[in-house]
């Protein structure tokens, strides 16, 4: 893996529903990116009181555009740092580290895959869909959000997906309900071998359980708070069961953010489950 730290330049920042779509021209990152990778952006400018980078799934990259290599992310402005990002304008500088993390594992065979995105969690799914379909797998989308403005990429899903299913909790678009409400039938219908998911922890857990019950693999992108993003600080851990059956507190920045859903001890996130390697006795 090659991780680069580089000074990027904003090409554009476009509001999309409740989110912002940010395109950054930056050297050395796009060419190494695979679906599921993330970038860490410095926020607040020089002399900011915000010391830590913010992590974002890479939505798209390009190495051929007129701005040179670009990296794109989709973000929600909810805290201090992302609010600062929501004021970015073309030509502004932004410091980028990436690509980081372990990308999605792709099936070796041609199989049916379902890609579940909750809110901006759909961002990494489009490049994944393309990669899957290039290898002959199918890529069925399930996109869900509380309300329509929090859906991201429905049109694009229609373009790259084998099929697209949309849910909103308020019923304003697609099926009223949650992604799991349509996922259940879909897994059977398409005989899915792998379910990919990115979204809130509760959704990941439900998807992982559902996939496991249906006998499918799942690949989940977790969002743990990260201080360094490069594996040196140990803030971003969650309990994951290894091949040996032992639960370890595992760094989601370098051993994730993509985890096999059946390996994560979803019930115990935020705790040290008894029996974890090195747990207090």
């Amino acid at each position: 893996m090659t991780v680069t730290q580089a000074r990027g330049r904003v090409v554009s920042r476009t509001p999309v529903g409740d989110y912002h779509h940010l395109v950054i021209a930056v050297e050395g990152i796009a060419e190494h990116t695979r679906p599921g990778h993330f970038v860490a952006l410095a926020v607040g400018g020089a002399d900011s009181g915000m010391l830590l980078r913010r992590a974002f799934s890479i939505y798209r990259t390009s190495t051929t555009g007129r701005y040179g290599p670009t990296v794109e992310v989709v973000f929600a402005a909810h805290g201090k740092g992302t609010r600062w990002m929501a004021d970015l304008a073309p030509e502004d500088e932004i410091d980028v580290v990436g690509p980081m993390g372990r990308p999605f594992a792709l099936p070796k065979e041609k199989v049916a895959c379902i890609l579940v995105g909750g809110g901006y969690g759909s961002a990494p799914m489009f490049s994944l869909a393309s990669a899957l379909r290039e290898r002959g797998s199918s890529a069925h989308f399930v996109l869900g959000a509380a309300t329509t403005p929090r859906l991201f990429g429905v049109l694009e899903a229609n373009r790259v997906g084998s099929s697209v299913h949309v849910t909103t909790e308020d019923g304003s678009t697609g099926t009223r309900g949650r992604v799991t409400d349509v996922l259940e039938g879909l897994v059977d219908d398409v005989e899915a071998a792998v379910v990919y998911a990115c979204g809130p922890m509760g959704m990941l857990r439900a998807v992982a359980d559902l996939a496991e019950d249906a006998g499918a693999w799942s690949q989940c992108v977790v969002e743990e708070s990260m201080a360094c993003g490069v594996g040196v600080c140990m803030t971003c851990v969650l309990p994951v069961e290894g091949e040996d059956g032992l639960v370890r507190m595992v760094r989601s920045c370098v051993e994730g953010p993509v985890f096999r859903g059946d390996r994560v001890r979803w019930d115990a996130v935020g705790t040290i489950p008894p029996g974890t390697l090195g747990a207090p006795r």
Partner: protein, 320 residues
């Protein structure tokens, strides 16, 4: 009066020698990583050549594997952060089998940080690390709760500090420098530094993090899984510089490694002016993974522009 007005002509940065001899350990620059902010060096080797910096101080290692504290383990605070990792780590066996050999083979100076819950644990760790091939130095992180003394942090108590260092030192070869890492959360840090020195420590590393708490806007309870955490980053730098300054005053001959909030070359110079023989960069690595190299480069420039050819010319200069 400025140093320039003082008559020194600026130098070419290439003519500045940043090399440091830290109690026999020769380092190409005074900039080391801070324990817990660089793991065991491997991950940072993607961003810079880990052999080019002063030393890699490894995450404090304990006797047994340790899961650490529940998440959340960090909170960003103004110009700083709180962490409550709880010394998660693989334990000394795995460290000696896997992490240390990588660093040594890579050619980096491996400064191993050890942490225990009892004096005996420190002794065992010191013995094993002291015998391991290629160890460049040992940092005894005594900013840990002492289970035999109502959980009071060793470095909060001069006697406990003395005890750990005096028991540890004989088990470590003489040519391996031993530094005691102190907490700033004490009434008089010079007394603890003096106790460590009397016990045989070759020097002290200051400062570890300050104890802090932040509340969660949703749960309305402490945000960290571990309730309290350690405050680090530029926010605490003035406290770190002060600690170095005080120790230098009280114990002019004791080598000091300055750590706490260093972000730039000038920040490193501040520590050296206050009396530090070397410095460590911690939290800022999270923002800028190549910070240890950048800070050294900037320090070189800061010296050059002021006409200083080596660190010996500025160490402790602020006291003069």
């Amino acid at each position: 009066m400025s140093a320039a007005e003082g008559g020194r002509a600026p130098l070419d940065p290439a003519d500045v020698d940043l090399a440091v001899d830290l109690c026999g350990l020769r380092m190409p620059t005074p900039v080391m990583t801070a324990s817990g902010c660089a793991a065991a060096g491997r991950e940072l080797d993607q961003f810079f050549d880990v052999t080019s910096i002063g030393a890699v101080v490894t995450k404090s290692i304990m006797r047994s594997p340790r899961s650490g504290r529940p998440t959340p383990r960090m909170v960003e605070t103004p110009s700083g952060m709180l962490n409550s990792i709880g010394l998660q780590g693989p334990g000394i066996d795995a460290f000696l089998a896997r992490d240390l050999p990588w660093l040594v083979q890579r050619g980096a100076r491996a400064f191993v940080s050890i942490a225990g819950e009892t004096a005996d644990e420190y002794v065992e760790l010191a013995r094993r690390v002291g015998q391991a091939p290629g160890v460049a130095g040992i940092e005894v992180n005594i900013s840990c709760p002492n289970v035999e003394n109502r959980g009071m942090v060793f470095a909060c108590d001069p006697d406990s500090s003395y005890r750990v260092l005096s028991e540890v030192r004989p088990h470590i070869p003489d040519d391996i420098p031993v530094f005691a890492k102190l907490t700033p959360d004490v009434t008089d840090i010079t007394i603890v530094a003096g106790a460590a020195a009397d016990a045989g420590a070759d020097g002290v590393t200051v400062i570890n993090t300050l104890l802090g708490i932040a509340m969660d806007p949703d749960t309305l309870r402490p945000r960290l899984g571990g309730v309290t955490g350690g405050l680090s980053g530029p926010a605490v730098r003035p406290v770190a510089v002060r600690a170095v300054w005080q120790i230098r005053r009280a114990l002019p001959d004791l080598p000091i490694i300055g750590v706490g909030g260093i972000r730039t070359g000038f920040d490193a110079l501040e520590m050296v002016l206050a009396g530090a023989a070397a410095v460590q960069v911690g939290t800022v690595i999270f923002h800028d993974p190549s910070a240890p190299v950048r800070v050294a480069d900037e320090l070189r420039d800061e010296l050059a522009v002021r006409g200083f050819a080596s660190l010996d010319e500025v160490r402790g200069l602020a006291h003069v």
